[in-house]
Symmetry: D2
Subunit: 261 residues, 4 copies
Amino acid sequence: MTNTQLTLVQIDNYGPWTVTPEPRREMDLQTLQSRLFADLAQFVGSRDGYVFFTRFDNMVAVTNGLDREDHELLQESIANRYPVTLSLGIGTDRSPAVALERATNGIQRAGSAQDGDRREVLSGETLAEDDRSGTDLQIAHFDVNDATGKYTDRLNEFDTFIHIEQGYASLMRYLREEHGALSFFVGGDNIIAVTPDLSEAQYRAAIDHVEADADVELKVGVGTASNAHEAGFAAKHALEDCRHLGTTVEFADASVETADD
Amino acid sequence: MTNTQLTLVQIDNYGPWTVTPEPRREMDLQTLQSRLFADLAQFVGSRDGYVFFTRFDNMVAVTNGLDREDHELLQESIANRYPVTLSLGIGTDRSPAVALERATNGIQRAGSAQDGDRREVLSGETLAEDDRSGTDLQIAHFDVNDATGKYTDRLNEFDTFIHIEQGYASLMRYLREEHGALSFFVGGDNIIAVTPDLSEAQYRAAIDHVEADADVELKVGVGTASNAHEAGFAAKHALEDCRHLGTTVEFADASVETADD
Amino acid sequence: MTNTQLTLVQIDNYGPWTVTPEPRREMDLQTLQSRLFADLAQFVGSRDGYVFFTRFDNMVAVTNGLDREDHELLQESIANRYPVTLSLGIGTDRSPAVALERATNGIQRAGSAQDGDRREVLSGETLAEDDRSGTDLQIAHFDVNDATGKYTDRLNEFDTFIHIEQGYASLMRYLREEHGALSFFVGGDNIIAVTPDLSEAQYRAAIDHVEADADVELKVGVGTASNAHEAGFAAKHALEDCRHLGTTVEFADASVETADD
Amino acid sequence: MTNTQLTLVQIDNYGPWTVTPEPRREMDLQTLQSRLFADLAQFVGSRDGYVFFTRFDNMVAVTNGLDREDHELLQESIANRYPVTLSLGIGTDRSPAVALERATNGIQRAGSAQDGDRREVLSGETLAEDDRSGTDLQIAHFDVNDATGKYTDRLNEFDTFIHIEQGYASLMRYLREEHGALSFFVGGDNIIAVTPDLSEAQYRAAIDHVEADADVELKVGVGTASNAHEAGFAAKHALEDCRHLGTTVEFADASVETADD
């Protein structure tokens, strides 16, 4: 059974900062946001977690395997190198949506995202090492069938983007409502979802829904492990299997996961 | 009348590279993508242009004021520092959508995005300095009314994100279909659109559409100038005027723009 | 007794790469080198190690606490994000100079730094967790007395730099020859040395030597711990003690070190 | 006749910041410094200038071709993205040392490097476009003969570094005292000098001095142009000529320089 540990990363009082004393150059803000995300991706990713940029001022990280000290160190290091600080809320549950609900509540209880006095909140508890297992995380890696041939090489980039975006919007809502899973667009034609234990039939139903709702054809590889990297890496291999076999849903077998260790 | 110069930035053969010889660590890919975008934001932004991350492997830049040499230098510098290379397609037109169509076609004619032999294409022509004017670009900066109070401080981050995303999806499609304008989510609750000359009534209609279609309330500041930074900076000031005046649509006046020079 | 674990980080075949097919833009090379160092500083530093830029194409890291898997992950992550790869040689000894000798030999035995076929060597063994102790590392943090008042605010920057550089050159040679300690300039007027167990008298003698040899007055804080960060952090506090007490050599007491945990 | 425009880049009140409220993690400071330098290298370098890291808290840039607006934009962009700000002092003269003297004086007159109230000084004037010429800059690119075979592949990295460092220390002092030239170590076995017009005999004398003084054998390529990139790029090609011809001093011919345009 999954046991997802999620961390909400929220830049403290970011909105007001971006317009104080007057609006800051947009490309400097874009640079700050994307580099901050990149630093989180390296810190969390090198500890076998995942982080998604979401709205950039609020980011969602899958932190199974990271403890409270890791979170404290991340806050200290960012505060030493950026003009902004981070609040971190940690939540765990078998349902990713419930885990994020808990992670978010911890920060919300400490004050508003635009409260100038609320800085570097660290709320919630991480999973005890003894409570972790090889089935804590299920990661599903989706992509669009032949996106290059059908869209990228044919349409102007914005119209391609509209198609990809509509497929993503349809999938994110379906998986959230049906299963409490959280789906994130990660660039290109790729969507990564953090899910509870779902069956092949449930993934097939999600893909059918997106095709009917948004006319976008997806396929998916699914992996399960004790941390996001191993689950996601297994999912990537399973997605490669879909490509080679021409199938729509593939689950990773154990050998692939252990191959990564 | 607007005269928008857009550059499509496409990473050469990126998809295959990400899984060769086997899938690469997702957080390394996320780091690479976001830092590449940040470098483009600094290069283009310090020349008063804008760049939007779009799908990260394909990015759209507003490059009025950048000439062919600037584009060549960007390609050379990225090739010197990254394991990937960039193809750049330039297009100009009074309609942003048509400009991007031309920019995209130039690259598509040179080969597929996944053609391993097609590298560092540079296609299209930039605006001659004599053809540039103070009305070449219209930038509209939208944000969501009280997003912090209504969403960020109340809902879990993913459900907040769904609301923001639905508002963006509705706006991007409406402005594309009605006006050939291109809208980009830039983080938080902010959307920046590159538009032709639109009237207050047309912006008001777009905002009404999004409220009816996605139940998300937007406001917008609009600026016009010879480059993206000045038009966008004026739009940010106009959006501040909306906040202070409680209005929904504000156009920047000249004094604000010149204040930035 | 100290037990220093050092890792030599060598960019594979870097020299030839910088001039192939023709010389690359110098500022792109400088950017690549300094960002690669920054990524190493974050990876190693967030695991409580230190890394010094030395010559940039060859860097020296203090890696007590990092195991072989950490080294492998570092190589993989850099190879995924940069156009160059890294070879890593690990060495341990009570003498930092001997540890580096071993670290360097491992890479040298695998081939030349300019051998195009030698890539991503990983040689040497890390300390077993059971063999680690709270006295494995001694870090000495030196700075120049009143560098701002005597140099920075008075001389042109290059002449200030010559004074600082001469003080560093004198100290690095003295500590290397007398004690097998390795000293690194880390910016401003700061020098950090990785040393064996040295006494207050030995540090005082080093400082007297530099004053006589290069007419530069130094002071030093010294810390001891099981990893570079804790030892160096204690050394920084001890250096602050020198400032407040007007003394030349201060050793950290345990309370300062534990304050950092 | 050369006409060098130099900019001193000084981080405002950096020393006190690094220990307030208590010492900051060294690897975070190293990351901040090296990334700040990398951003300067991209900003200045993409405008055909050079910047050298020198002491990191004080950096020297060759800014022929950059005007006052470029300097203002650099200050604004760094202030938007870093927890520190920059003061910039500009100076010009046929002698690089005198140009830096003027650049430094402008900042010193505004206050101390550790004056908490002195922020974002911008002093001095840039060269008028009409006063610029194709002989404004002479750049000399030195490297060590067979450094890999003699040092890197044979000695431990620190002892290699001592040899390279001694060669650099000897050259930097000789060129400063004899000719008012400024020499900077740029990594590996490379030294780049900003010089007045020097003859082949004068370069030969410098190289002979370093061999006699520090037992390090250098060769040099020399280029002249209106900006640092073109002069330095020509110097790199001339250094390649030394390698192929086995000579010690080579001057670039015009064809090489124009080849870069």
